[in-house]
Amino acid sequence: MSVPQAPSRSPMKTDQLFVNLGPQHPSTHGVLRVGLTIEGELIVKAEPDIGYLHRGTEKLCEIRTYPQCIVLSDRWDYCSAMTNNLAYCLAVERLLGVRAPERADALRVVHCELNRIASHLILVGTYGIDIGAFTPFLYAFREREMILDLFEMSSGARLTYNYIRLGGVMRDVTKEFAEKTREFLAYFKPRIDEYDELLSYNPIFLDRTKGVGALSAKRAVEWGLSGPNLRASGVAYDVRKWEPQCGYEKYPFKIVLGKNGDCFDRYHCRVREMREAVKIIEAALDGLPEGPVMAKVPKVVKPAPGEAYAHVEGARGDLGIYAVSDGTACPYRLHVRAPSFVNLAILQELFVGQKLADAIAILGSFDIVLGEVDR
């Protein structure tokens, strides 16, 4: 007697249901709204809705002077404001034809990589919460607090630093900063293994993330993903290797790659990237050259008319700044190629066919910051 084959989808007819995910839901990491049409547990249609945090910084830049715009750049990706400062300053320095001194370059690298660790720690912590593990959050934020203390020591601020300036950095770091940073790195290195033990190889966490939301390399490139999201699919695109600036070519580090491009790979790429960042900071501190931290930049910055593009590897991907100068003290046009904004676009396609609970796991693994998405 043949056993009747169970249909893959339940024959029970269910009505479609519209679910608003966000904009004030903790798992959307800010003010993102996703309009989900679900059929039972399955998502049939997803419409991400952004713009709740739109402050029009590109418009605001047009009436602010070049140094004033650095302050605005802090507010794009507020979890890694150092890389925003860097991208903006590099673009304007290209317009000006100015290069930062070597010591400033090394300090920029130290601060950007520390900020990368701080930003990835947020992902490790909050992604755990999204999936249902609360403890890693407390561990990650304990370490992040130490990095913020270091930044407070060098820049005076804990979130919006305005530390990297046109032609260099705001001020030199003290001896104490270098000592404390080394102390922190020595403390932090074994902690990364701790995260792996606590979260990465936790069987429940693996069940929720392995094979969920997998992206092929071709699809990831097509959608313009960048940063750890792209590298998780096995595409070795890292601006620090591709177009090294600030002396990144001097430091020994590997491009961290994933295989399957699923949620676990996206998450674990970031954990492994923290190890590489530690290596870069150590090398930069060891070879920290003496000298000035500021190049000669005119008091009133008025670049010659022209256009420039500079991009850096931010914590969330390829952050590019396209700047047009008309010879006045304010940028004529400033465009921000925000990695989170471009990364987020794929969700409308990736969510379809997933279960509602997996949608939270996928969204969390993309590590978006809505300040950067909406600008």
């Binding site: 713009g51 739109h54 471009v342 676009a345 600008r375």
Partner: protein, 188 residues
Amino acid sequence: MSIEEVIARLFSKFPASEKSAAPVKDYATIQLRSREDLLPVLSLLKEQGFAYLDMLSAVDWKGPVLMEGYVREMNPNALQPGGAAARPAPAPAPGFAYRDEMTAVYLLSNLPDRLKVFLKVDFPRSDAVLPSAVGLFKSADWQEREAYDLFGIAFEGHPNLKKILTAQFLEGHPLRKDYAHVRDRFDA
């Protein structure tokens, strides 16, 4: 493959296009003659490995910006009693590279060969229509919606061309230089 070979191949197929007179510093920049060339050039570049659309944006050349486009006056003098006196609006003078045109800027990357190329195409402001690149690059989807929202460029063939960043009630396209802000209930 070097960037020179790519450009030479492109110029042989599209003789009207040329190296841009206003290039982006340190990058190869190609100026297209007309917007009809845009999709064929994009697909030609895609065939040559430029499968990654990095950035898509635009510049409006009808500057300088109108101050009515901003909610607040620039540099209000907080020390004066009663705030700063309203400054007279500057006499309208044509700004940098003034013309009644906009330029769309595309940045394409060839990831295996480590190449980047900028494409520029000019079009009149009153007839801001471009063919959509969504069929070739999915990442154009939201970036075109952004350009539509902020610049008012209509991308023909875009599957879902609607506002993305600004509020639903906001009228006009804020990054156009002649945008004037209409006071709403959120202005103090």
